[in-house]
C-alpha cells in the first residue's frame, strides 16, 4: 500500500536475507499439554499446485505468466508454517515483542484514551497491570480465575482462550502524545520525536478512527487468542482508560524472515522489500542513545480503506502499472522475479517502463534517500459500508526510529501515487513504543522513576 518496496538500499531485499534470529523469535514451548497443531501455511493455501508451479513459471516469460492461470509459489513454503504451541518471551528482551517477531496471522489493534480525572498513579498501575497480564497471556495462561470459588465473585479472566495454545501471541504497548501532556506531569519524559502527525495530502481522516493516548497491538496465529487478549486488557482498566478505536486484522500483509511475501486485498504482494537485517533494524527501527526510550521505537498506524469493487473492475495492465509490479510473481515491471531490483530508469519507446508515479517508484528507498521503515500491517474488513459495498482495506502499521521517515514518504505518496484513486487514509495515529521490560518491571516504568 503506502509501502510496497521502500525498503532495501541494495535493491535486493530479501531473497535470502539470512538475518540472525530476532530477539523475540518464538520458541516452541516444550512439554505443554495443550493442543498442538502445525499447519503448512502457504503450502496449504496454494493447494496441490505448489510443487510444479515454480518450475512452470521459470519457463514462462513475465508477460506470458501474467496471462497464465497458475499461481507461482516461492521456495520458502516449508518454513512458512504455523505452530500454535509457540510462545514469544515477554520479559528480558531488549525490545518489545510484536515488532521484529515474525508476523503472526491475525491481529487486533486497539487504542484507548485516558479517562477524565485519571491520575499519574492510575497510569502507572495501568501499565504495570497490563505488563503482568501480557506476560501471563503470551505464555498461554489466563490472567486470573475463570471460575472463582466464591459465588459472589466476578471472574477475572473472561475465559474464551481457555484451552487454546499460546499461538505466538504478542501484545505491543504504545504511548500516544497525550500521555506526555500536563495531566500526568510527564512532559519532561516525552520521547523526543513524539508528536501528532501533520496533515498529509490525501488524508481524509475521521476523528473517531484517529489518535489515542495508548495503543495495544495484539498479534497471534489464532484470532480468538488475540481477541481475548485485547478484550481482557481493555476490561481491566476501565476505571482509567476507555476504548477509542479498534481494527481487527487478518492475513498478515507483511512478511518476516522465511515467510512468503503475503498479499494485500488488492491481490498484490506487499512488503517484498521490508527491513530484515540486524544492521537495518539498528539503523532504521530501534532508538539509540534515547534515554529511557533506548531500545524503543515509534509506531505509525494508518487505517486505509480500499474501494474494493472499483479496483476489482480495473484492467490488469492498469493495476500492474499502478503498483509497478506484476500481480502473480510480484516482479518489478523491469524484471522477471519478485526480488529483482527495479530499474526505474529503463525506457521502452521513450516511455519509462515503471511509471514514475507508480507505488513502488515513489516508495523505493533509492528514490527516498535510502530511508526505510519496517512495515507490519494486516488486512482488515468491517463488513459492508453504507452503500452496500465491501468495507475493507489495510491496517498499515510501521515501526521506525523517526516518525518523520513515514511522513516524508507519505507526503510523496499522498500527492502522486497512482494508487490513490483506489485508497483512502481514514485513520491515523502515532505512538512511542518503549523498550521491553525486565523481569520484575513493567513497560514504561522509567516514566515513574
Amino acid at each position: 500500500m503506502t509501502e510496497e518496496s521502500n525498503l532495501d538500499p541494495s535493491g535486493f531485499a530479501a531473497g535470502s536475507p539470512g538475518p540472525s534470529p530476532a530477539p523475540s523469535d518464538p520458541a516452541p514451548a516444550g512439554g505443554v499439554s495443550r493442543r498442538r497443531l502445525i499447519a503448512g501455511g502457504a503450502a496449504t493455501a496454494a493447494g496441490g499446485a505448489v510443487v510444479g508451479a515454480g518450475v512452470t513459471a521459470a519457463f514462462m516469460g513475465g508477460n506470458a505468466r501474467a496471462a497464465g492461470a497458475t499461481p507461482s509459489a516461492s521456495a520458502s513454503d516449508v518454513t512458512d508454517s504455523v505452530d500454535l504451541t509457540r510462545r514469544v518471551p515477554f520479559y528480558d528482551q531488549p525490545n518489545q515483542a510484536g515488532i521484529r517477531t515474525p508476523p503472526q496471522r491475525h491481529a487486533v489493534f486497539m487504542t484507548f484514551n485516558l479517562n477524565r480525572g485519571a491520575t499519574r498513579q492510575d497510569l502507572q498501575v495501568l501499565l504495570a497491570r497490563w505488563s503482568a497480564a501480557i506476560a501471563q497471556l503470551t505464555q498461554g495462561k489466563a490472567i486470573g480465575t475463570i471460575e472463582p470459588e466464591r459465588p459472589d465473585a466476578v471472574a477475572t479472566d473472561t475465559g474464551e482462550a481457555h484451552g487454546l495454545a499460546p499461538a505466538s501471541l504478542t501484545v505491543t504497548v504504545g504511548l500516544g502524545p497525550g500521555v506526555f501532556d500536563k495531566r500526568f506531569d510527564l512532559a519532561h519524559k516525552r520521547p523526543a520525536l513524539l508528536k501528532d502527525l501533520p496533515r498529509i495530502p490525501g488524508d481524509v481522516l475521521q476523528p473517531e478512527l484517529s489518535g489515542g493516548d495508548l495503543s495495544l497491538q495484539a498479534c497471534a496465529d489464532d484470532p480468538q487468542v488475540a481477541y481475548h487478549a485485547i478484550r481482557n486488557l481493555a476490561r481491566m482498566v476501565t476505571t482509567t482508560a476507555h476504548t477509542h478505536w479498534v481494527v481487527m486484522g487478518f492475513g498478515r500483509a507483511s512478511a518476516g524472515p522465511g515467510q512468503e511475501t503475503p498479499r494485500n486485498l488488492m491481490g498484490f504482494k506487499d512488503g517484498t522489500r521490508n527491513v530484515v537485517s540486524d544492521a537495518d533494524y539498528d539503523q532504521y527501527v530501534w532508538l539509540k542513545d534515547a534515554d529511557w526510550m533506548t531500545g524503543g521505537t515509534y509506531q505509525v498506524v494508518r487505517k486505509i480503506a480500499m474501494t474494493i469493487e472499483t479496483w476489482d473492475f480495473d484492467r490488469i495492465s492498469d493495476q500492474q502499472r499502478i503498483f509497478g509490479r506484476t500481480k502473480d510473481e510480484g516482479a518489478p515491471l523491469t524484471g522477471e522475479r519478485e526480488f529483482d531490483t527495479p530499474d526505474f530508469a529503463k525506457q521502452v519507446e521513450g516511455a519509462q517502463v515503471i511509471d514514475p508515479t507508480s507505488h513502488i517508484a515513489l516508495a523505493a528507498p533509492e528514490n527516498n534517500s535510502g530511508v526505510k521503515i519496517l512495515r507490519r500491517g494486516y488486512n482488515y474488513t468491517d463488513g459492508l459500508n453504507n452503500q452496500g459495498l465491501l468495507d475493507a482495506g489495510l491496517l498499515f502499521i510501521s515501526y521506525q526510529n523517526d516518525p518523520q521517515h513515514f511522513v516524508d514518504l507519505q507526503n510523496k505518496l499522498g500527492r502522486f501515487d497512482l494508487l490513490n484513486e483506489y485508497i483512502r487514509h481514514i485513520g491515523s495515529a502515532v505512538f512511542a513504543v518503549p523498550p521491553g521490560p525486565a523481569t520484575g518491571s513493567y513497560i514504561g516504568k522509567a516514566l515513574f522513576d
Partner: protein, 416 residues
Amino acid sequence: MSHRTHAAAGLGAVLALAAGLSGCAGSTPAASTSATASAPADGSAPVVDGVAQVKVTLTGGEDGDKCTADFGSAPAGPVTFTVENVSSTAITEVEIQSELKILGEKENLAPGLPPSPFTITMNGGQYTLYCLGATPQTQPFTVTGEAAAAPTGSTATLLNQGTKDYGTWVGTQADGLKAAVADLKAAVDSGDVAKAQAAYLAARPFYEKIESDVEGFVMPGFKVDDNKGNLDYLIDMRASNLDEKVGWSGFHAVERDLWKAGKISDGTKKYAADLDTNVGKLVDVVKTLEFKPEDLANGAAALLEEVQSGKITGEEEAFSHTDLVDFHSNMEGARQAFAYLQPGLEKIDPDLMNQVVTQFGNVDDALAELRDKTAPGGYLPWTAANREKHRKELSQAVLALQQPMQKIAEKVATAK
C-alpha cells in the same frame, strides 16, 4: 428474595489506619528507623509503634508463583501487611480472611509497583492469608493473645446495620411509588394528557430506584414462564420484551398512549388501573424483603447494568424519550445501596471504596452535562440524535463505575 441467616463473624477486624494507605505510589513499608520496635520472643512479627509488621512478598517461578510472608504469626492488635510484588504476574490480589470473610486486602498488584501496605486490627485466633493466583493459594496466619477492644463496630456489624437501613429506605420508596401511581391513575382517569404525562414522570423514579430488588418477581401460584404472574413484567414491560400472550401492560403501555397516541382512551384507563393494582401487590412484597450485604452490592451492579443496556440505548422510554430521568433514578438506587455498604467496605478495602466513590462522581458529572431545565423530567430528551451525540461518553463513564462495583459483592458477602 430469600434471606439466609447471617452467621455473625466470630472475629472482629478493624482497619486502624485507613488514612494514608490508599494507592501504591509513594507508599513505603511501614517500618521506620525512628520507631520503637520490639521483637516478640515467640517468633511472631515485630511490633513497631504498636503495630505488628508483616512483609508479604510475591515472586514468579516455573513451578507456580509464590506468596511468602516473613512471619506466620503476629501478636493481637493492629497488624500491617506490606505487600511487594517482586516478579509474580499471576498474583494480583492478597487478602486476610477469617472463616472465608475478607477482613482486609490489596488489589491491583503487579511487578515493579512500590510495596503497598494495609492494616487491620486482629484478635487472637486462626486466619488465612489468601493470595489469588499463588501456589498454594492459601496459608494459615496465627494471631496470639487478645486484642484491646475494637474502637468501633466490627465490619460485620456495620454491614448488617447497612442492610437493615437499606431495607427501610426501600420501604419508603415503595410507599412513594404507591402514592405516585395512584396520582397517575387519577390523572389518567381525568382524561388530561398533560397532567397524566407529568404524573407518569413523577412516578417513574420510585420504581427505577428499586427495580433491581424486584427484578423477575413472580407471584405465588404462577409458573416462572408465565408473564401473567411476573410483577416486574406487568409493571415495567417494554416494547422490546412484549409477550404477545399477555399483551401490553404497565407503565410503558400508559407511556405509549400518552406520548405516541397523545390521547387517553378507555384502554389507557385500564392500563393505569391495572398498574395501580399491581404496584399495590408489589409494595406488599417489597416490605417483606430482607437483604444481605451481597444483595445490596449485586443490586447496585444490576442497576448499572440496567443503565448500560436499557437506558443509554434509549430502549426503556421509547415514546417519551425520558430515559435519562430513569438513568438518574437507577444511579440514585445504586448509590443508596452502595452508601449503606460503605462503612463496612471501608474497613475491608478503602481503595476499592474510594474508587467507587470517584467513579460515581464521574458518572454524575457526565450526566449533569445533559441536564435541560426546560425538558420534562429535567434532562435532554433521549432522542436518536442526542443519543448519537452523547451515548459514548455516558457509556464509558458507567463502564468505569461497573468495574469496581462488580468486585464489591464478594468482599461483603456473608453467605458461605
